[in-house]
């Protein structure tokens, strides 16, 4: 894996008002692999994830320092276009949130807001995205039905489909399976495994088994600091930090 990393984070700090949530985070996230962020609640992993597509901008009173380079470009530069950033870095949320529109409209939403109106292009993109999300066969006959009429697992796959419809290079997933049953979880994990050949995936998860199953590299956070970051197999079998070992053996968190 000698390609340059997809995301380079250096000396990242973040404050919510007076509280510092991230302390000097530095890490490289490799291209076209799955990187898992694990840690106890409140350790800052979701906060870090949301920095990567500038979703923290939506919260008042947030201050960020440090550099975040996505494919070499500083996404927090004053000249950076936040819309462009969000198109290149997609996100799937913890609780599936399909828009109250039809399945088709959900998937092509990102393309529409980008200005693409050609029906043929949209149709092709919709089919491609739904197929890649392993949802096409289930919904191809009812693309006009409301997205909210799908089951929980299907809705989450719909959210993944609409994220990849705009062909971002990177997909961020914030605990995507925490609201799903084991079968649906399994399907999503299989999907992640297939998607990683095309997309860089960063996944936040509470489920250590999931992290062990799905990811190539794992980062362990605690109280806003990056404690350990290495290949998944090594981190889980041979952690170097005591905190990491305590966490993955269940002694706390």
């Amino acid at each position: 894996m000698n390609t340059s990393p997809a995301i380079v984070i250096r000396e990242a700090n973040l404050w919510y008002g007076g509280n510092q949530a991230l302390h000097d985070i530095s890490m490289d996230i490799p291209e076209k692999q799955v990187t898992a962020l694990i840690g106890p609640s409140g350790c800052g992993k979701s906060t870090l994830l949301r920095c990567l597509n500038r979703m923290n901008d939506l919260i008042d009173d947030v201050r960020t320092t440090g550099s975040f380079l996505v494919h070499g470009q500083d996404i927090y530069a004053p000249a950076a276009d936040v819309i462009d950033v969000r198109r290149r870095v997609g996100m799937v949320f913890q609780k599936s949130n399909p828009l109250p529109k039809s399945i088709y409209e959900n998937v092509v939403y990102g393309l529409r807001v980008a200005g693409i109106r050609d029906r043929a292009v949209l149709d092709a993109a919709c089919e491609r995205a739904l197929t890649a999300a392993a949802l096409w066969n289930e919904v191809k006959d009812r693309l006009a039905t409301n997205g909210l009429s799908l089951s929980g697992g299907q809705q989450q796959r719909l959210c993944i489909a609409r994220a990849i419809a705009i062909e971002p290079g990177i997909i961020l997933m914030d605990e995507p399976c925490s609201a799903l049953d084991p079968i649906a979880t399994l399907k999503i994990e299989e999907l992640i495994y297939e998607l990683k050949s095309q997309y860089t995936i960063v996944i936040v998860t509470h489920n250590l088994q999931q992290a062990a199953r799905v990811s190539d590299r794992t980062a362990f956070f605690w109280l806003g600091r990056l404690i350990e970051y290495s290949r998944t197999a090594e981190l889980f079998t041979n952690p170097t930090e005591k905190h990491t070992e305590d966490y993955i053996t269940g002694r706390f968190g």
Binding site: I83, R87, G90, Y109, V113, N146, C159
Partner: protein
Amino acid sequence: MAGLKTLFRRGEPAIWFSGAGLGVSLLLIGGMVALILIKGFGFFWPGALAEVTLRDGRVLLGEIVAREGIPAPGTAEHLQRDRLQMKLGNRDITGVDVTWIDEDDIVATTYPDTAVYVERLEYGPFIGLPVQLVEADGRVTAGAEAVLAALPAVLRQASSDRADIRRLERDDVGGVNHRIGQARLGLRALDLEASTGPGVDHAARRAAVERDLSALEAAYLSLEARLATALEGASRARLTLRASGGEEKDLPALDVFRLYPANHLTWAGRAGVYGSRLWEFLSGDPRESNTEGGIFPAMFGTVMMVLIMSLVAVPFGVLAALYLREYARQGVVVRVVRIAVNNLAGVPSIVFGVFGLGFFVYVVGGTLDQAFYPERLPAPTFGTGGLLWASLTLALVTVPVVIVASEEALAAVPRSMREASLAMGATKFQTVLRVVLPAAAPGVLTGLILAMARGAGEVAPLMITGVVKLAPDLPLDSYFPFLHLDRKFMHLGFHIYDVGFQSPNVEAAKPMVYATAGLLLVVVLVLNLTAIMVRNRLRKRYQTSAFS
């Protein structure tokens, strides 16, 4: 005692009290609506005509419309005996429409088979017995039964003649009149232009307009001649009737709107009269100083005004709510603005009326007149009350309601939906347009429903910004610009006030008040139901809850 304590803890008394409260409220509302509907729409039902002979020898023929106990407060006979209210009609003969008679004074009551109730052009209804009918060709029919048999055909002819004459007057002569008015205004406009900017050749244009004017005046004269011929040829049948006191009245058939033998009708016949009266009420014009005839112009004016008011209030309200909720920085200023808006919702509407008069009518209207209609001055076009100013004033009254409801609706759109849209690269504006507004639409419609209900019922601000007792035209007609926003109009709420309290004949007007109030309730109900149905359909489409 322990049993009572558990009862209270379970909350049973609260359930009973709240149920009772709901029951009482429903009874009150239901009672009021039932009263209005029964007295209002019951008024159209044709009752029987009774001929009562009184102890003093008087004979009265009329419709018994009410019964009540005779009040004698302080004595033992208080409310012991009844008196009846009889509608006698024949105001031109006797001077009284309606009278009260003690039930004890009645010696005999009969229901003459040939007694007729006649609705006519002037002086209210006539109640009596038909004597004879003289038709246009001179044929005389005498005797009550024979007259009743021959009448329907004659009245039908008279009614169609009346319609023809009205058409000639309103449409043809009225159209030419309108164009003459426009031509004269055109001449005045040319004069004004000439006085302010000499040098341009006005002579040619003036000559052209004057040519048109003389052509129009010639057309008017010929139409007048046609009208005279029509009037000549119209039904000249005359009907003679006898009142209960023996006086005879001679009525031209053209003046008779409706006539029916009240005691001779079958149920189907009565239903027919009821239907025809109800239809006339809903679609006809008022007569007799608004105490008879129909209220179509008032209904039309009310609906027109509510529509224009909504068209103005809703976009402004939604845009204001959007800015307050989505774009403004949430600090002290926004909170102060929000408090101000909430308080505006409680300001008495007459204050808005006075503001509307001062600002819209005098300032804006006056300026518009100076700028666009100088040739009509000193007669004001927009410088006086009218449909536009009344609607704008009421829009001011209802905008705070719309803002509050829309803000609630926008705030209720879940954050997750907005984040989903933004995470896909949509701008905030695109998110608002494509996701937030459609999801908030049901709540915005609730605001619209509340606004329409409030606006349709307000009368005070309207009285000074453009509603009149009797408007000569509807604000919508076939002359350009078709919707005349400068015209004064009629309104159901004001009509109720006017008929109930400003009318010369209160007893005759009372049923009209009930009927108009009932119609106002129906109009508001229809507007609300439409909005509710649209809202339900939108709710189904944009439901935000997931059930899986």
